[in-house]
Symmetry: C2
Amino acid sequence: MVTAATQGAVDIEKANADAFERLTAADPWVIDVGIAREVIPGYTDDLILTSGAPMPWSEYVGGQREALVGGALFEGLAATREEAIAKFDSGEIRIGACHDYGAVGSLAGIYTASMPVFVVENRSGGNIAFCNFYEGKEPRRLNYGCYDQGVHDRLLYVNDVLAPVVAEAIRRQGGIALKPLIARALRMGDEVHSRNAAASVLFSRAILPAVLDMVAEEVPNVRETMLHLAENDYFFLRLSMAAAKASADAMAGVAGSTLVTAMAFSCRGFAIRVSGTGDRWFEGPPPIHEGKLFAGHSEDEITWMGGESPITETIGLGGFAQACALSLQDYQGGSPEVMISRNLEMYDIVHGENPHYRIPLFGFRGTPTAVDVRKVLATGVLPVMDVGLAGRDGGQIGAGVIRAPRECFEQAAEALAVDHAIETEVPR
Amino acid sequence: MVTAATQGAVDIEKANADAFERLTAADPWVIDVGIAREVIPGYTDDLILTSGAPMPWSEYVGGQREALVGGALFEGLAATREEAIAKFDSGEIRIGACHDYGAVGSLAGIYTASMPVFVVENRSGGNIAFCNFYEGKEPRRLNYGCYDQGVHDRLLYVNDVLAPVVAEAIRRQGGIALKPLIARALRMGDEVHSRNAAASVLFSRAILPAVLDMVAEEVPNVRETMLHLAENDYFFLRLSMAAAKASADAMAGVAGSTLVTAMAFSCRGFAIRVSGTGDRWFEGPPPIHEGKLFAGHSEDEITWMGGESPITETIGLGGFAQACALSLQDYQGGSPEVMISRNLEMYDIVHGENPHYRIPLFGFRGTPTAVDVRKVLATGVLPVMDVGLAGRDGGQIGAGVIRAPRECFEQAAEALAVDHAIETEVPR
């Protein structure tokens, strides 16, 4: 008997194959660094972006609310915390969701109008994605819900010192292809989410010809910028996120596709987008976590204040490539055995294996890529993500592994009106 | 009943513990680049060094003989091949073994008087080791038994362009600590013998402050040198070898110690040195191999023309750390499973686990370090090494894994007068 579910299955398979093909064909290049207000379409001076599915101001709590306030103060949209809150209340300062602007935010993911952003172009699809800069190693950072003089100064340092040099170097190089750089970093111990040590140094090497010219021409701040990059192993994460966003967006909007195109969370909860349902978010509770805390911190301090770096897992990196980066065991906890089995488990819930991003430990098997809503529900296996952990008083207090909640996938399946139990029809 | 063997065992254990302690305490720094004739003690203009236990000229055959002739031509010690051969015959050109001069040679391991060498100091022991420079990616190289105009030009490029820049950068930095750099590279997919991709880029990063100053001061050839380094992932191998030699020498000469302090081979065969017997070599047949050849080459072309890069395995790197560098599977063949089991097997024949060099895949277990002659004989497990493979017509034709022959260890045990079958008394 032909049921609605089996009738639909053929189209779903074709839609997913199309979406997967677009994803794996994506060719992200960082082509520039620009100022948010100038390069992000629709950006206005009164706009602050933050992580997760869009919410009204009143629902932002804890660290994510503090981060929004910090963003307003940093940008000079308010002189005091109270003034900032009043302006958020009145709508004089507007809040947007990063993803709605082609951007992705790390942790709380605060963007303000004057912030420099990487401009990443998918050269096979023409779409553009953005990500702003890493603030540096100091655990107190705006994107971890902190704002004080030190945070302010470090953000200005990014705006005034680092970004102009990196921008000019990228432009002089004619852009940098990120896909081969990421593929190489996977052979060098990174999964380019919680570990970017190799990718960061490879990026510095990629801009070296331009940098050497700039030093010879006495362009200001080049030496300082390069030494900063040399000391910041997470510098590349923002490029990895922008590359992932540019790649994931390429697979969005394929009618009938059940593949996940974004995973993100806010202080309220976790949410996913699915190719066949476009920009709609399917929300669930906060993620399930297991982690390792920095010395002096305890489990009850962990708080959720947003995070969109799981865009890397969305395209088969991060937790989906953690067997490339086993040295993460001393950063986020776990053992090689656990990391390997977690990575292998992801093959059960994805559409396919990435033809470009490969895992040496698995004999160069492609990373598990493109989570299929149906397979998550059929297997009960939840997508895994490597993330930094924020503390209730702000700042990074550790790192760990989170799992997306099942509820998001249930809602997505309902919206897609697909059968939850189709695993036996799906090639494994 | 107390036998000679059990009586001696206590002293051997203590001697090995002492030697191991000296090895693991070694703190190799590259402090300079100098010209062989100026910095290697006892070096004279008529001297050419080559790999393996010392032999008379008449016994050098094939590629290693060609490499010696090439060295004589490059150095201007002879104008023609015939003249070079005549001068080797007469002793007018002298041949030395690299190890006798504190040096180690890659493949044929040719040193001539004008060649630049890395000067590596063990800052915990004060001893110095040397290694000359990588010739570049071209398969036809002097150390693979080739000499022609191209080889000549590339060697001169090393002498005149690369070495002076690298020398000045190292001096300006006050030397570069190699042990932490190697430890970090092991987390980034290298085993620093057949894979040096991470270590090479980390080295470039380590000299970056000096390099940026030099560019600003318009020191010649800096840009060219840095771009050359950026394209040559094997650049670091020679630093890895010199660091290993400086470390291995620190454990030499401990009376009663059965730990191997050098493994090297020539066209004639493989040889080892052991701590308790000082500079004496114990020779055997050529190594046993399995490898992967570059396209267009066949197994019967493989020839032995020397190699001392197994000094890296001697201190617990290379093949003894191959589980760090699983991406080597597509360079030298094998599968992750085979590489992992080969690496694990090495724990059966070593004195201990390296406290500094660690393997993420094994939960940061220290690399198996310091081969014990007795354990090789007791277990029948032969030390494994990652090496480049040379072709009978010269040049590199592939890469693979070799094993040291048992005969070397039998002779060493005889000279040390130790019982071969003591495995049950040795802590595992």
